[in-house]
């Protein structure tokens, strides 16, 4: 149906990003196709070391799911998105497809190195999140393709992660966000690590250099701070109503370090609460 209507038509999932965009007249699609009732896209499962989430799973359902208990960084993100009302309607697939630079899911999924399953007339393909999000509001989706699933490897038992969005109030988009997932060997030695900054440029900010700087090393406060500086060098937080670039850099560093220490504790088996921080 979307193919038939042409490129000016848009799919509507939960509408929590798209409807405000329409009200602001920032986009004028000729037609909206309500995809929220498509069957079998609300699932979440964790089998054979792979977590699969259907594109129409809502933030609320993901946040309250068993999967968020196994992978706490998911709960940090899902339960911190906007407010309870938005979480009732908004979907992970919609958030990823919108590719708003301030949206939480695109950033978070960089930390988990997720694959985005896109389905169109010509079949299914899996696109790594780092290739899927191409620019602000721009994804690798072609024509009438839809995101149908998000999948990523279940983090190992010695792994921990944390995601922090920094915002002025619950319904607001974060002014800055930071996420980290790491696995630890004996003596706080970092086996593997994945980092991201959100709302810090047109697309989520990652740095292989910063990750390599931590991998195989003992994670001290100094080393984490150095990694934060490398990651920040790759960022370009825009000055806007949520703050100046300088302010955002300071906040990015602060929440990145806070997330890193939380991730280390969780990797050690601690069950600690996470989620957004408010001004």
């Amino acid at each position: 149906m979307l193919t038939g209507l042409g490129e000016t038509a848009k799919p509507l999932a939960g509408g929590q990003t798209l409807i405000p965009i329409l009200k602001l007249r920032m986009d004028e699609p000729s037609d909206l196709v309500d995809i929220a009732r498509l069957p079998d896209l609300h699932y979440m499962d964790d089998n054979d070391g792979v977590i699969r989430i259907g594109a129409l799973a809502t933030h609320g359902r993901i946040g309250k799911s068993d999967i968020s208990k196994v992978v706490p960084i998911l709960g940090d993100c899902a339960n911190g998105i906007a407010d309870a009302q938005v979480r009732s309607m908004g979907t992970i697939g919609g958030s990823v497809s919108a590719a708003d630079p301030s949206c939480d899911w695109p950033a978070l999924l960089h930390v988990l190195n997720a694959e985005i399953i896109c389905q169109g007339e010509k079949g299914r393909r899996a696109v790594p999140i780092r290739e899927f999000i191409q620019d602000s509001y721009t994804t690798a989706l072609i024509g009438a393709e839809l995101v149908t699933e998000i999948r990523f490897k279940t983090p190992p038992a010695n792994s921990g992660g944390a995601y922090i969005g920094f915002k002025k109030a619950a319904p607001a988009y974060p002014a800055a966000s930071a996420g980290i997932q790491l696995s630890l060997a004996e003596g706080s030695v970092c086996q593997d690590v994945s980092l991201v900054l959100g709302a810090a440029g047109p697309r989520p900010v990652t740095s292989v250099e910063a990750e390599n700087y931590l991998r195989g090393k003992t994670l001290t406060a100094d080393r984490l701070e150095q990694a934060a500086e490398i990651l920040l060098d790759a960022s370009d937080p825009p000055a806007d109503s949520r703050g100046s670039s300088e302010f955002k850099r300071a906040m990015l560093k602060s929440i990145f370090l806070k997330a890193a220490f939380r991730a280390i504790e969780r990797a050690g088996g601690e069950r600690i609460e996470g989620g957004p921080e408010y001004v």
């Binding site: 509507l12 509408g15 929590q16 409807i19 009200k23 000729s30 009302q85 938005v86 319904p171």
Partner: protein, 162 residues
């Protein structure tokens, strides 16, 4: 098909009564509730998905009715603030808001009540922190929130005892 003024037939159950209407696909749920059905207790505050004044319960979950097309709720069950009172008796949440001065101008109150209802349905004994988190999507410019929190705590207690 885009330029034609087309309408769609939808049916939404609100507070137990079924309302079948022909509506434009662009009609928001809050407009359906207020203008088509005439239940004006649900308020339009910011109209930008921020303030929560328009909060209603759709199929058991709190949603912002200004950020949903009525057609998306077709076949659904909605509870609005008018659905709280039963047999001329205020709901315990309404009574608690009244007793604890959980409102001043009252504009945000319908949304506050509906968010509180959703919270207490899911978590009958919420901590203060959980109440604050659940009501994070409801803004009040009068009360400073303290009395709203007290009201929800008291309502939780009454409903537990009740």
């Amino acid at each position: 098909m885009s330029d034609e003024a087309q309408t769609v037939s939808i049916e939404i159950t609100i507070n137990g009564s079924r309302y079948q209407r022909e509506v434009e696909p662009r009609l928001l749920l809050v407009e359906f509730i207020r203008e088509e059905v005439g239940l004006t207790g649900t308020h339009i505050g910011c109209d930008t998905s921020y303030c929560g004044a328009c909060t209603v319960i759709l199929d058991g979950e709190p949603i912002k009715s200004c950020t949903l097309f009525a057609v998306q709720a077709d076949g659904g069950e909605v509870i609005t603030v008018e659905g709280l009172e039963q047999n001329d008796e205020l709901h315990p949440i309404q009574q608690a808001f009244s007793q604890h001065h959980g409102l001043q101008c009252g504009f945000c109150t319908p949304g506050m009540l509906m968010s509180s209802l959703a919270l207490l349905a899911e978590n009958p004994t919420p901590s203060e922190k959980e109440i604050r988190k659940q009501l994070g999507g409801n803004l009040c410019r009068c009360t400073g929130y303290q009395n709203i929190i007290k009201a929800v705590q008291d309502a939780a207690k009454t409903m537990q005892e009740g």
